[in-house]
Amino acid sequence: MFGNALSARPRPFDAVLARAGEIILGKPDEIRQAIACLLAGGHLLIEDLPGMGKTTLAHTLARLLGLQFSRIQFTSDLLPADISGVSIFDREKSEFRFLPGPVFAQLVLADEINRATPKTQSALLEAMEEGQVTVEGQSRELPEPFFVIATQNPAHQIGTFPLPESQLDRFLMRIELGYPDRAAERALLSGGSQRLQAARLDAPFPAADLPSLQREVAAIHAAPPLIDYVQALVEATRQSPAFQHGLSPRAGLALLAAARAWAWLAGRDMVLPDDVQAVLPAVARHRLRSVQGSGFASREDIASLLRSVAIP
């Protein structure tokens, strides 16, 4: 994708991206974003209509990265204990034994997270933030790496509990899959079940390598002018009349982390303004509220934001 001279590193994830692209047809950018999110150590929110391949994407990533996978279907009667697990009394040993809930997995798919009550949502979100779960006064470490993909359905909001801004901020990225293009749809229709294909994938990476890869990503060089650029973008959101309020310092950190992962995927050992521009929509849109209308910032808002900031 980028000039070869800048790609000093081997690009071990090209194979992963290629394999995933065979399953999720016509969505290379979204796959790349999802993997960048994982490499940056963040969590991913996928927002789209049912049947767009949200679950398949999660499955595929779990298989390809060799991650232990679990899925939680969120409903309005789901309780926090259904996620984190419960202690039951073992009659033979005469003691309580902890049965870990589905959250104790390396990749957790939280399907339709906005269907559950805020209490249950916050149980998951606490796990995402802290990397641990507290059950009956005892903290239990979650496995490493720990990666949550949450999905939500933007339509049919009756009977849902939309995530508040503070909770949205915990997701490093939010992406939309959208309809596939004609060619991809054709291939989809003529091929077999995507879910089955995903199940047959083998893992090119042992999951144990992922933490060290994440550390490598975090060490990617970000030069002072690049930091200037991130700072200028964040400041522009604070001063722009298009948004109700600007990006938080945490959002600025998230933007830089995501840009690092994007650069690493391209095999570069430095972050370029292009990386920042590429991840900005996924990182910033769910953190900004447009003044016009009540929803998230639109793609056009982000595009005009980018056009308002000169590259240092």
């Binding site: 980028f2 000039g3 001279a5 800048l6 060089h221 030069a223 002018p225 690049l226 604070r238 001063q239 722009s240 009349p241 309020h245 600007g246 050992d269 430095m270 972050v271 370029l272 303004p273 292009d274 521009q277 980018l306 056009r307 308002s308 900031v309 000169a310 590259i311």
Partner: protein, 643 residues
């Protein structure tokens, strides 16, 4: 209200306008008619209500009606729409009205401009330190309002205020240069309209019983004096004002005829500089007897120093006086006759008394002794004398026996005239208080005094102060000690607490320094400054040149400072700009937000032959600027290889 049009006014910027308008208008409430202040306040509240409810502003016809009503009111009040008071009132009215038609940003700018102009008008009324500080603060608010009008809706008050302060602080050096070097006009800073000098307190040209007593209630400063050398004793500090020798039975007036002055100085003259507050009269209040006068002033026939023009603003004069003197030992017969005149039939009891004294001893000095002895026996010094009847002197001498300095002076002179001794009343100030902070002698209105002068054969006019016989402490230590306890006097004069007195001295010394150094910076001071800069005879062209030079130097310093603190452009960035100039020659321009890689792709598409070489430049540039090690050589090589 908040539309996206470029000239639209941000709804949240409007409170700034209210604050700025109120800050510029409020000090005028003190001196403009109450009804206008009330109307202005109501208009402000009304406009604020419209803003709060976000309702449609009143229609044009209603506004025109209110303006017409207000202007009529101002005309009825002042009988004109121009001049200082009426003009300022009109501006205040306009400011309040403008708040009722704020629809666009342009209206906001009008409010700000009007605010800057209203700032100036405050100097018509006061040039004191608090006024200056208030106006500086208001200028800050108005400037911040202007910034806020052009800022986005997200701009924060903190940053707006900080930016406004920065601008105001940057303006201060320019202000100082303009202040020091701008060509000065003689007189006040600008020609004030005629009504500017109304209502000043001070001595008047005539004296009726009670006129000085009312003056003594005021703690306002009449003038300040700086002596070369020590301040003479208090009993010698008689500051001479108008001399009154025409008496019609109740009022004393000066005579208008010209008289010759023959003055013999006996002691060496002492030099001093007085800073006279505006009193709208011509006299300069010199110590008896003035021997050296400032230019543009003359000595009147009664030895009163007179300026050519009335003193309508604070002015400085250099004077010299000899405290021991002989004045008109030879006096014209007409003058002596005038000073012996008493209205026929008035004050018969005093006439009787004087005749009695004369019959005992015809020597004038013995008569004077008798009179002073009388005052010293049964009289009482007070600021609240009882009312006097038609024969005021008789009433005072034989009935009430309570009075203030003008009663004693008048009674004494009438007695002398009945006894055939030429005598007259002298008004002025007596004493003063030394401010230990700056060493100036401060003379207040409460030091106003009246005494008598008699003409004696072979000695000329001699000062006799009957008040000294009644209440010696009045002369020796001041009015506060002379009055009985419980008499009303302004609090400032009565202060006996030491620290409070010290505080007042300090504050007055600061004010004096401000008046002397800042307000009193006139043409002469400017000439002295220029002479010290090596331009002894600067004309206005040289002054303009110097002004331009000063401002230019300031700009140069500020620019140099800005350049010094500006971050130096990265060498990689400079090389990149060089490459972009190559590109511009090929009619390809880079948008500020376009990343170098995007640009490289575009160039490759548009100019494939050039694109390959340019791609090398981009790669080298990105590595040099964003990479961990800044290798500029590759970038230089790549640029050198551009076709």
């Amino acid at each position: 209200m908040s539309t996206a049009a470029p000239n639209a006014l941000d709804h949240r910027a409007v409170p700034w306008l209210f604050v700025a308008a109120l800050a510029t208008v409020a000090p005028h409430f003190e001196h403009q008619p109450t009804w206008l202040s009330v109307i202005t306040g109501l208009l402000f509240a009304w406009a604020a209500w419209f803003w709060w409810r976000d309702e449609r502003l009143p229609g044009r016809w209603l506004l025109i009606f209110i303006v017409a009503l207000g202007s009529t009111g101002i005309y009825i009040e002042y009988r004109t729409l121009f001049g200082r008071d009426a003009g300022v009132s009109m501006l205040v009215l306009f400011m309040a009205m403008k708040l009722l038609e704020i629809k666009s940003r342009r209206d906001g700018v009008v409010v700000v401009t009007l605010g800057y102009f209203l700032l100036l008008t405050h100097y018509f009324y006061s040039q004191s330190i608090p006024t200056g500080l208030w106006l500086l603060a208001t200028m800050w608010i108005v400037t911040a309002t202007l910034i806020r009008l052009h800022g986005g809706s997200a701009s924060q008050s903190r940053y707006t205020l900080r930016y406004g302060l920065q601008l105001c602080l940057q303006a201060i050096p320019f202000m100082l240069v303009l202040y020091l070097l701008f060509p000065r006009v003689t007189g006040p800073l600008w020609g004030l309209p005629q009504d500017a000098h109304a209502g000043r307190t001070g001595l008047s040209e005539s004296m009726t019983p009670g006129s000085i007593a009312s003056l003594a209630q005021s703690s306002e400063i009449a003038f300040r004096v700086r002596f070369e050398g020590d301040i003479p004793g208090k009993e010698k500090l008689y500051w001479r004002g108008p001399v009154l020798d025409q008496f019609d039975g109740s009022t004393w007036r000066p005579s208008l005829g010209r008289q010759a002055v023959r003055l013999e100085a006996i002691s060496a003259p002492i030099n001093y500089e007085t800073t006279l507050e505006a009193h709208n009269q011509r006299w300069l209040l010199s110590l008896d007897a003035p021997t050296g006068l400032p230019p543009d002033s003359t000595l009147g026939g009664t030895m009163t120093a007179l300026n050519r023009q009335p003193v309508t603003y604070r002015q400085r004069f250099n004077l010299a006086s000899s405290l021991d003197y002989r004045f008109n030992v030879q006096e014209e017969a007409a003058v002596l006759q005038r000073n012996k005149h008493v209205p026929a039939g008035s004050n018969p009891q005093s006439r009787q008394l004087a005749v009695n004294w004369l019959s005992r001893s015809p020597d004038p000095e013995a008569v004077i002794e008798q009179a002073l002895a009388l005052f010293g026996r049964e009289f009482f010094y007070t600021l609240q004398p009882p009312l006097l009847g038609e024969n005021s002197v008789d009433d005072f001498l034989f009935r009430t026996r309570r009075g203030f300095c003008e009663h004693y002076a008048a009674a004494f002179v009438v007695l002398m005239r009945h006894a055939g001794i030429p005598a007259r009343v002298v008004t002025g100030y007596q004493g003063g208080e030394r401010n230990p902070v700056d060493g100036y002698l401060v003379v207040r209105q409460s030091d106003a005094h009246a005494w008598a002068e008699v003409w004696l054969e072979g000695r000329g006019w001699v000062r006799v102060d009957p008040t000294a016989a009644v209440s010696p402490s009045r002369i020796e230590s001041g009015i506060a000690d002379a009055l009985p306890v419980g008499e009303p006097l302004p609090a400032l004069i009565q202060i006996r607490t030491n620290w409070l007195r010290g505080l007042r001295h300090r504050w007055e010394a600061i004010n004096n320094a401000w008046n002397q150094q800042v307000i009193g910076y006139d043409l002469q001071r400017q000439r002295e400054l220029l002479a010290s800069l090596g331009l002894p005879h600067a004309d206005w062209q040289q002054l303009a040149g110097l002004l331009a030079l000063g401002i230019g130097a300031l700009l140069a310093v500020l620019t140099a400072w800005g350049l010094y603190h500006k971050t130096r452009p990265d060498p990689a960035l400079r090389l990149w700009h060089k490459a972009l100039r190559h590109l511009a020659r090929r009619k390809v321009n880079c948008a500020p937000w376009e990343t170098p890689l995007d640009l490289a792709r575009r160039v490759e598409q548009e100019q494939p032959d050039f694109g390959k070489a340019f791609r090398q430049v981009v790669t080298a540039y990105l590595a040099a600027r964003y990479g961990p090690d800044n290798d500029l050589q590759k970038l230089r090589d790549a640029i050198a290889q551009l076709p």
